[in-house]
Symmetry: C2
Subunit: 209 residues, 2 copies
């Protein structure tokens, strides 16, 4: 099998962090070619996004959490997607919120501002997709609400979905770092719970992945 990633992009980072937390080693290859995904990668994989896990039988699995689900099913321990019904549901809820509000919020700012993403407002399209004015401020607003809700959730919870680290923490950390580096939006000083959590998760070995 081969895992395709791309530089420091946040979605491949979700999978890399996951693999370190699980203690799994998977062969990786960078799908990039300078500032963009390479033409050979895009022709091999028409969805033209990263990450993508190619299995030995040729099956291509895209979407970061689908890739994690594959490994989680084969290697249930340590559980990063929950063990019982309620835990699984709460983790999936927070993971999806972290993606929808955090990661997409930051992407709305970054992809509609940075010149390298001119005509690539969303990933994966072969035709040009123009940048949209108005998404920069909407993205920041979205991030602001996400930080606020997460700060409230972390009041009394060590991790995002309870007392164990999970994929919800992974996506939240990748979203927050992406917002900080690429969307110039940081967690406000007064969000004490979120800052405590951020400092604790950032020093885990997986955060360097």
């Amino acid at each position: 099998m081969q895992l395709y990633v791309w530089g420091k992009a946040p979605n491949p980072r979700r999978v890399r962090m996951y693999l370190v937390e699980k203690g799994l080693a998977v062969p990786m290859q960078d799908a990039g070619d300078g500032a963009q995904l390479s033409a050979s990668y895009k022709s091999k994989y028409p969805f033209a996004m990263v990450p993508m896990l190619e299995l030995d039988d040729g099956t291509q699995i895209g979407e970061a959490m689908a890739i994690c689900r594959y490994f989680e099913t084969l290697h249930p321990a340590p559980a990063l997607m929950g063990t019982d019904a309620k835990e699984k549901a709460v983790i999936e809820m927070w993971e999806r919120r972290a993606y929808d509000e955090g990661l997409i919020g930051a992407a709305e700012v970054f992809r509609n501002t940075h010149p390298a993403f001119k005509d690539r407002s969303i990933p994966g399209h072969a035709d040009p997709v123009p940048q949209v004015q108005g998404l920069q401020s909407r993205g920041r607003q979205r991030l602001g609400r996400f930080f606020e809700l997460l700060d409230r959730q972390l009041d009394g919870n060590e991790f995002v979905a309870g007392n164990h680290i999970s994929v919800a923490d992974i996506t939240a950390l990748c979203a927050i770092d992406f917002a900080k580096i690429r969307a110039e939006t940081s967690v406000p000083e007064d969000h004490k719970n979120l800052r405590r959590w951020y400092d604790a998760v950032s020093v885990r070995p997986s955060a360097a992945a």
Copy 2:
């Protein structure tokens, strides 16, 4: 337990379809108050979105697929989220694509056009979120690519993620109907595989949910 839904909104429909396919009955309540979610619902549930499943211990589970995951863990058969690692991953991949490209594509058109969503460009926010010009055409472009990729996937596959119905079909159907009714965007005539699938899934009893 109680499942909160809202009129004909596409996200609660994902859960309702899922429950019919599983043969599960869950008490439901409409969270709406005319054109909007009611003030009492929003104060009870600060995320202010539907669907939401409230368990008897007070736990609130939001996000359609997190709610489905709860029931899938308690009632594994018939499996709508896969059985082995590869199947689970492929289903999750297509379900997330159907959400990201299909459902969000249609929402980009609808919520940034319809006067009832003035200042509610994205759900869940208490503060106004202005409609964004440019998202109508980007949403249509996104839907066009989604329809094309789905048509290609359904060449040789009876259902979206293979030969069994799954949550990927449910989200895809809800996205396509939402696009048709609320974003005036239908599957093109020449997408024969997708139209064959659409006709077959639309006559299942769950599609009426």
